[in-house]
Subunit: 214 residues, 2 copies
DNA sequence: GTCTATAGGGGGATAGAC
DNA sequence: GTCTATCCCCCTATAGAC
C-alpha cells in the first residue's frame, strides 16, 4: 500500500522518502515474534526459515528482505531477549526493601517461568549457542555484565540505607544473586511445585543472612 | 578381525557365540567419544552423522550398526554425561569437612570448566534439548533429583557431626548448593578471572553462613 | 514489496557388495 | 561387520515475475 508509481527509478536513496518505514517496522516485529515462538519450540538449528515465514504469514523470500541471513535474525532476537532479561532483573530488584527484594528476584524468576515459557527456553538456547557463535557470546557477556552491575548498584544503595549488612561487597552479593537466578532459570524441576518450594526456601535463607549486621 | 568363516548362516542368535563383544564395546565407546567432541563443538542439531563417523574413523552405515538412530546416539551420550555430573558432585562433596566442602564444590566446578570444556558445553546443550525432547527431559530430571538427594544426605551427615548449623533443612541447603553450582556452570564469564574470583567469594560467603550456630 | 519457483548443497538413513 | 553408493527429503538463499 501507498505505492508511488511515478518514481520508477531504480535507486531512491538519501533523499529521505517516507517508504512506509512504519509498515516495515511492523512487519519486522511480526517476523521477530514468529521467530521467537519457533526458536523456543525447536531451537535455533532445527527451525527452518520456512517455519518462521509460515508463522509470520509471509514468504521466505520476503523474510530475507528484512534480515540478510538466518544468523542475523538469530542475533537480532538474542539481543531483544537479553534486553528483556535485563529489564526483568532491574524491575524485580525494585520490589520492596532490599533483603526481601532477594526473595522477589527468585520468586519473580519462577513466576516468569510459568508466564513466559518461551523466554526461558530461549534463554537456554542462547546459553548453548553462545559457546559456538561469537556474536551471540559477545552479546551474552555484555548483558551479563550489565545485570551484575545493576544488581551491585542496588545492593550498594541498600547498604547505605542500612538494609543490608556490610560484611560483603556489593559485587559479591550481586554475583550471588545472579548465580541463584541463573540456577533457578535453568533447573529442570523448577516447573514442579516441589522444586519451586525448595527454591523459595533458599530465597528466604539468603534474605535472612543478608540482613543488617546481627 | 577374528571372523568365523565356517558359519555363513544368516541368523546366529541365542546360542551365545562370542561374536567379539569386546571389540563391539570398544567401537561403541569410540563412537561415543567422537560424538561427545562433535556435539560439544557444534550442538546436537548442527552435527551430522557424517561428522561423527569421520571423527570416529568409520563409515556412517557402520555407525548405524551400533545406534539405531541419531536420536538414540544423543540419548546414550546424554545419559553418560549426566552420570559423570553426578559422580563429580559426589566426589566434590567428599573433599574436606562440610562448610568448607561448599567451597570445594564451587571451586571444583570452576576447575572442571577449565579442564573439560566439552563437558560444560554439552551440559548447556542438554539443558536446551531437554525442553523439547521427552527422553532427554526425563533423564535430566532424574539425574537432578539424584544429585540433590546425594547432597542432602551429605549435608545431613555434616549436621550430625555439628559441622553445619541446623537452622535450615538438609534439602534446602542442598538445593542452595545445586542452584549455585548450576549457575556457576552456566554463567558466561566464569571463564574470565574476574568472574571466577567473584564466584569464589560467593562460595566463601555461603560457607561462612552455613557454619555451626553462631 | 511480495511472491513463486528453483538452484545448490547437506541431512538421516539404507541397500547391497564384499 | 564394514564399506561405497544412493535414495529422498529439507535446508538456506536467490532469481525473476508481478
Amino acid at each position: 500500500m501507498n505505492r508511488s508509481r511515478n518514481l520508477k527509478t531504480t535507486r531512491v536513496r538519501s533523499r529521505g522518502r517516507p517508504v512506509d518505514e512504519d509498515a516495515r517496522l511492523v512487519r519486522r516485529n511480526r517476523i521477530l515474534a514468529a521467530a521467537r515462538a519457533s526458536f523456543a519450540a525447536e531451537g535455533f538449528h532445527a527451525t527452518s526459515t520456512a517455519t518462521i515465514a509460515r508463522a509470520a504469514k509471509l514468504s521466505v523470500a520476503n523474510l530475507y528482505q528484512y534480515f540478510p541471513s538466518k544468523d542475523d535474525l538469530v542475533l537480532a532476537l538474542v539481543q531483544q531477549d537479553l534486553q528483556a532479561d535485563i529489564a526483568l532483573v532491574v524491575e524485580l530488584g525494585r520490589q520492596g526493601p532490599f533483603p526481601r527484594a532477594v526473595e522477589s528476584v527468585l520468586h519473580g524468576v519462577l513466576e516468569e517461568r510459568g508466564k513466559d515459557e518461551d523466554g526461558f527456553r530461549l534463554r537456554l538456547e542462547i546459553l548453548a549457542e553462545a559457546t559456538r557463535n561469537v556474536a551471540v557470546r559477545r552479546a551474552l557477556a555484555s548483558a551479563e555484565a550489565q545485570v551484575i552491575q545493576l544488581l551491585a548498584d542496588q545492593v550498594g544503595e541498600a547498604q547505605s540505607r542500612g538494609e543490608v549488612g556490610r560484611e560483603e561487597s556489593p559485587e559479591t552479593i550481586a554475583r550471588l544473586l545472579y548465580l541463584l537466578a541463573d540456577g533457578a532459570a535453568s533447573t529442570a524441576d523448577a516447573t514442579t511445585s516441589d522444586g519451586r518450594r525448595s527454591i523459595e526456601a533458599v530465597a528466604r535463607l539468603i534474605a535472612r543472612v543478608l540482613g543488617p549486621g546481627k
